[in-house]
């Protein structure tokens, strides 16, 4: 076992707030340049760039996990990290089912485009991706776990759009695999991770977490969050 460095919250150009430079190819190149061993792409309520980034990651020799940053009905953002391609497909169906199709204005919020490996635009999403789903945080947690995923409330120490800001505290019957913080966490009841929440290339790796793992992979990460078999969170960076 050895330490691996991971940044598990990176937006691609699909997210309206994501810079147009955030193509899967650019993300992989930057992540490698920053010495990251594992990343996760997490666009708002969507997984359309997961497979392309995973493929490019394999070619470049860096682990890419599939994820989405889900907005529940309370306006709480949570990371859902998924184990494989099949779970992504069915989780995307679940997202589509709960989507509120709020109209999108690219002039105000930015473009929401899906690209292929040659960086041609293959699809434009015409509803506002980050809008709250018509699913409560409990339903998001349940869906994440039903798909074999990890449920991680995002940036819980931000004044809004995090679980503490929106809901005051973390309900004790919500099954949380870890929490993501932006600042430095004090004593929390949950495993704590830090990620960049990068929306532009230079933000990739600005915050990260080191994990003790056999190899950088979804299953090893899940074990580390449970402190299982010697795997664990070592430290948070930056």
């Amino acid at each position: 076992m050895k330490p691996f460095r991971a940044d598990l919250h990176i937006h691609t150009l699909l997210s309206p707030c994501g810079s147009l430079e955030m193509s899967p190819r650019e993300i992989i190149a930057r992540a490698k340049g920053r010495g990251l061993d594992m990343i996760a792409v997490a666009d708002h309520n969507s997984t359309y760039h997961c497979e392309l980034t995973v493929t490019l990651g394999i070619e470049a020799g860096i682990t890419v996990l599939r994820a989405a940053e889900v907005t529940s009905a309370e306006d709480v953002h949570s990371l859902v990290i998924l184990p494989d391609e099949a779970s992504v497909i069915s989780f995307q169906d679940w997202l589509d089912l709960h989507c509120t199709h709020m109209p999108h204005n690219p002039d105000i919020f930015g473009d929401q485009v899906v690209i292929d490996r040659d960086e041609n635009i293959i699809r434009e999403i015409n509803y506002f991706l980050p809008a709250a789903l018509n699913a409560t945080i409990d339903e998001v947690e349940e869906a994440a776990h039903n798909h074999g995923g990890l449920f991680i409330p995002a940036h819980i120490d931000r004044p809004a759009m995090g679980i503490i800001g929106q809901l005051g505290f973390i309900p004790d019957d919500l099954f949380v695999d870890a929490v993501e913080v932006v600042g430095m966490a004090g004593d929390l009841l949950y495993p704590v991770i830090r990620n960049s929440d990068a929306h532009m290339p230079e933000h990739i790796g600005r915050r990260f977490t080191d994990y003790m793992l056999e190899n950088p992979s979804f299953s090893e990460l899940a074990k580390a969050l449970r402190s299982e078999g010697g795997r664990h969170i070592i430290q948070h960076g930056r």
Binding site: E74, G165, L167
Partner: protein, 110 residues
């Protein structure tokens, strides 16, 4: 003015917590950020929100509020209503928006 007077005068729906309809209302607070309500709502206030999560009840009870009014026709979850019944802290509802309801409430008790 009591919670029951507000219910009658504005025509609010009573979802749960009927035991608390006799509570005295001393003011109001409108916010959907629960962390904000936790820090700022005054004791005895009615809280106007579109949030329906069960944490609403924990915070209403922590701040010793007189009632919660859910706007825009939203419905509280079963667990929220169960908690409201247990604590005798009414959860009320209306199709009015937060803005409209706050206006009417303010002219009643402001």
């Amino acid at each position: 003015m009591k919670v029951t007077d507000i219910v009658e005068k504005i025509g609010l729906k009573v979802f749960s917590g009927h035991e608390g309809l006799g509570k005295e209302v001393t003011g109001g607070y409108a916010s959907d950020l629960l962390s904000d309500v936790m820090g700022h709502a005054g004791s005895g206030a009615v809280w106007i929100t579109i949030q329906t999560h069960r944490n609403v009840m924990a915070i209403a009870s922590l701040r010793d509020l007189s009632a919660v009014i859910i706007t825009c026709g939203e419905n509280p979850g079963d667990d929220t209503m169960a908690q409201s019944n247990e604590e005798g802290l009414p959860v009320l509802g209306t199709d009015l928006s937060t803005f409209e309801l706050a206006g009417r409430l303010y002219s009643l008790i402001g």
